[in-house]
Symmetry: D2
Subunit: 337 residues, 4 copies
């Protein structure tokens, strides 16, 4: 780390700082420049020590020289991580499609949808059993009943199933049914949940929080990776900004940034990002152009009868056309490189 002193720091105050560094057996070199003392400290940065140094009145700033995340960093592991679920491989040469309704609403709905999606060539069936809703008065999902329907749909179609977990207490029941556990945007920094889901050993789809930086998303992934579970998919789904024309601002830059910083597969969810049907196709195409490994898209047979998120769900017909276009675009771009 680099410590930059205040301009008016006294010799005595600098000495207190040196004593602290010595006490912690840190080695360093110092140079003054432009009125500041610049202290270059050797070795890996320790977050705790860094914070303590910030408390010294002589200190203006501390610049870290270590990445805050290690296991998630491409710097550490320069091979793309692949996730294998039966005969499905995520993170390699194929573009992965995960699709389905926001929430599982009935047995018929999810099975009919799954059959249609399989026919389109979709790989993963999504559907919420436990729904995180801003209002306690909104539909909270069918719970275990939904998990059973999802499992039946999987049996009938061979699609892998991804569903969201809301509480560490549900982990045992969810891993009985899901192939991939989703951690939603609101829970990206629910550290107890990250650790519990990580320990299950299941692949995890980790959505970026609407208030999270790219670095914080990678640190959330790091929580899972430290449990020994390396099967993490990162998912961009829009961030909260001042713009009110969309529900969230889809951060297209996050896709190349994540691909560059990490070896983990990166998905995009254009449905939640925009909250508007007419934006899903352009955002999905843009995501493919920007380099995603997969897409998460909400599909509903009758959006106007959906119990949640109907306004951002594609009809079967629209989805079919879009998926075909995305696949064509992906194949074309691959041969461009």
């Amino acid at each position: 780390m680099i410590i930059i002193s205040k301009k008016d720091a006294s010799v005595q105050k600098i000495e207190e700082l040196y004593n602290f560094l010595d006490r912690h057996q840190l080695q360093y070199n110092s140079h003054s420049s432009n009125g500041h003392l610049v202290i270059v400290v050797n070795g890996t940065d320790l977050h705790e020590i860094k914070q303590q140094i910030m408390c010294f009145s002589a200190v203006e700033n501390v610049i870290p020289l270590s990445k805050s995340y290690t296991l998630a960093a491409r710097e550490t592991r320069n091979v793309n991580t692949s996730i294998i679920i039966n005969n499905l491989t995520i993170g390699e040469s194929e573009l992965i499609f995960a699709a389905g309704p926001c929430a599982v609403e009935s047995r018929e709905q999810i099975i009919e949808t799954a059959l249609f999606l399989r026919e389109c060539g979709v790989h993963i069936l999504r559907g919420g059993a436990f729904k995180p809703r801003t209002s306690p008065y909104s539909f909270q999902g069918l719970g275990i009943e939904a998990l059973e329907y999802l499992a039946e749909a999987r049996e009938k179609t061979g699609l892998a199933v991804v569903t969201e977990i809301l509480s560490p207490e549900d982990i045992d029941i969810i891993i009985q049914y899901a192939d991939i556990i989703q951690i939603g945007a609101r829970n990206m920094q629910n550290f107890a949940l990250l650790v519990k889901a990580g320990k299950s050993g299941k692949p995890i789809l980790l959505k970026r929080g609407i208030m999270a930086t790219v670095e914080e998303l990678l640190l959330a992934a790091e929580y899972i990776l430290t449990t020994g579970n390396s099967q993490v998919i990162l998912c961009e789904r829009g961030i909260r900004t001042f713009e009110t024309a969309v529900r969230n601002t889809f951060d297209i830059s996050a896709i190349p940034l994540l691909k560059h910083a990490s070896h983990l597969p990166v998905f995009a969810d254009p449905s939640h990002a925009s909250g508007k049907i007419e934006l899903i196709a352009p955002l999905a195409k843009a995501s493919v152009a920007a380099g995603v490994n997969g897409l998460l898209i909400e599909v509903h047979k009758e959006p106007y009868n959906a119990k949640s998120d109907g306004h951002q769900s594609l009809t079967f017909q629209l989805f079919k056309k879009l998926m075909k276009d995305l696949q064509a675009l992906y194949d074309y771009l691959k041969q461009l490189d």
Copy 2:
């Protein structure tokens, strides 16, 4: 609710919408204005129905006529909620001080601090046992050991104890030790945790998420209130914006907005908002001037030895002076009204 049609909506599409409203037995009146059809629907808005209506292609917008939260609304209950813990009353005429270190680091530390704070006139001792940290490599708290030290500090001083819960699974152990359960900013929309904490019947200090609107904070409180637990304290602690000169932008307007919209007590946490020692005094004074019921302030005997948040912790000496000023300011403002 009010439904506004698109300008180019066809008669047929409008009819489909009317059929939907009729099918759900909703009563309404329609008028056209400026090319739009405006449909005023009677009765309480149902979130689900509202979302479904948004899916009709004839619809441009739906304007709700019901507040999204009910139990938390002053409109529903126009008497300030008081929270009573032994001989402490929160939400009435007294300015409440909650203070202590970010994390409990040792028995000696928390007991010495508690004794000092009692002497200053502080009401509540804060101290983290389970710490939510952005990085898995940061200090995560002493856990149950910390809870025991907090309980001992309470016994020695009579101060009430507030500490943060991170996982629904910890609720049983935490309610044995804490007088007030804190739900941190990162968990404001951890709905499983809100419900679990709510059901414990304990008073809850609910911190605003850094990317949560005032309305979402009230909806999070509503989750707790629907469990039958009405003892919720709302806490402003800064939101995430583009400004990098501070850790978070303290949203001073939220204080009068919350007091106006809700009957629940409102606290402010100037330490977490700014992340800078020199801003704590002006932000705390501003909070009192804006009408808070209480303040949450980080205090540490030796900030440069703190395991977390030392850079935003006041020393004993600074805290003592600030608390005296805040109390004087509060008393003066009260007699101004």
Copy 3:
């Protein structure tokens, strides 16, 4: 417009509001729903009247029924606007490339660059003569000298020239040299400048402010359109958010939103959005996939010798490859539709 009363509005206060509407000869129908009075007012909304109605204590909210912009709206004119400059047509079937250095630094630099860009097939040469710089100590541009070099480059290459205007006072000199006048992000709401540039009759490249909503961008365009000048190109270049990994968050959704709301051509500037060389290619491709009419890209022969923005300028070699890919991608996508 629709006026929604407060729940506790008294009969007397509602009467005052009705009197105001009558005094302004507005026609309306009222219905009560869920405790609110809903007044649907006929006719086009007047901004001034709307604001005055907001002042009545009986009023909770006013919902407009007119678009705030008219001339820029596709609703008003459902034919794409084309801008013709000599044998260049912007806004039709061709993908337009505008490229060049951030600032004109010397005669040699701009002429060499222009020759290279023409060879690549670029349509428009960009180069700053007057530079808006956050710091008064940064390079402010060569001024008129730069304009002369740009004109010479145009003569030698046939490229159209776009350059930025900073002050209404410079309009006479700039229109002597530029084919397209750029209004930069910082001046998007410099209304005096918008009007002056509009009145020149020249095509205008209007960049979105980093703090501007899509609607405000369209209102800024409306300022130009009201001068009788319909040749406006809208340009997305990133907005300011909490994310610090990029200079600005490129708002990819703005592209389809603008194409949908307006008939004006839409460009994207991936260089300014990200501030990072490695993001330019993915953002440019994503922009094409999302439907832009053109791209604005910074190119510099020797980025490390650039007087500004070198860190986000492509070298000649990188640009050549990218342009080829973008053109191929555009052509492929066109035949997909």
Copy 4:
């Protein structure tokens, strides 16, 4: 400045960087730490050089060691700047009140308002002659006519007059009438206007842009200061964030930050920040508690007849009570210190 190399930078690439530094005759010391080379460069940072260094592929980051602003910095001039206009002194021990309508609407209106404000003890009369409006269809101000009314009001009351300039071309006419020139939030980075207004030698009230950092506000002030005009008042008026409950989020932290970083007087404008009458009093009190030198408050005799901003204008009666409270609060706080 400090240059931090990438971890994988090659010896050859580092050498290119050293050559660049040598060519620019920069002196430096280097140390490696944690795989990075850290180069501490002596002397004042040059923005241009810094940007060029960012372009070297060996470079990960450049940390400046000079403040980006100099003349505005308290570091440079540790004496509070006072601005004297006749017998009014801004920036010293008195709390300054600037009040008046958003826009001058008629001779009668502004004179009646001015007489009332003088009676209350207000120091400065505000009133817009040229109005920056998001929509070209909104009231744009009475222009020169308004300036004449303001001058007449000044003559009758002795109040100083502040009014906003929108275009450099208006400077000659405005300085004939105004005692203080206001640069509005939308023009904070209108550099041509800053320089022109600065050169007039008149005191300038510089409002923070809604998307400007505290540092950018100080750099905008620096533009004025470099013209030799040191009479600048900084004004916080709210920033744009995701929160929609208020028009802008009032950044209360900016007040102590600006007072700490700069010697210039700091005002607050609670009217524009919130856009809501009921928030003006708490925000104004909070601003005083946080240390402002003055307040800018919108007052209108009949808000519901105002041509702009009526919904955020206090009535005469409300203003009178608030001003009395603010003065009392200010006096009380002063004796606390």
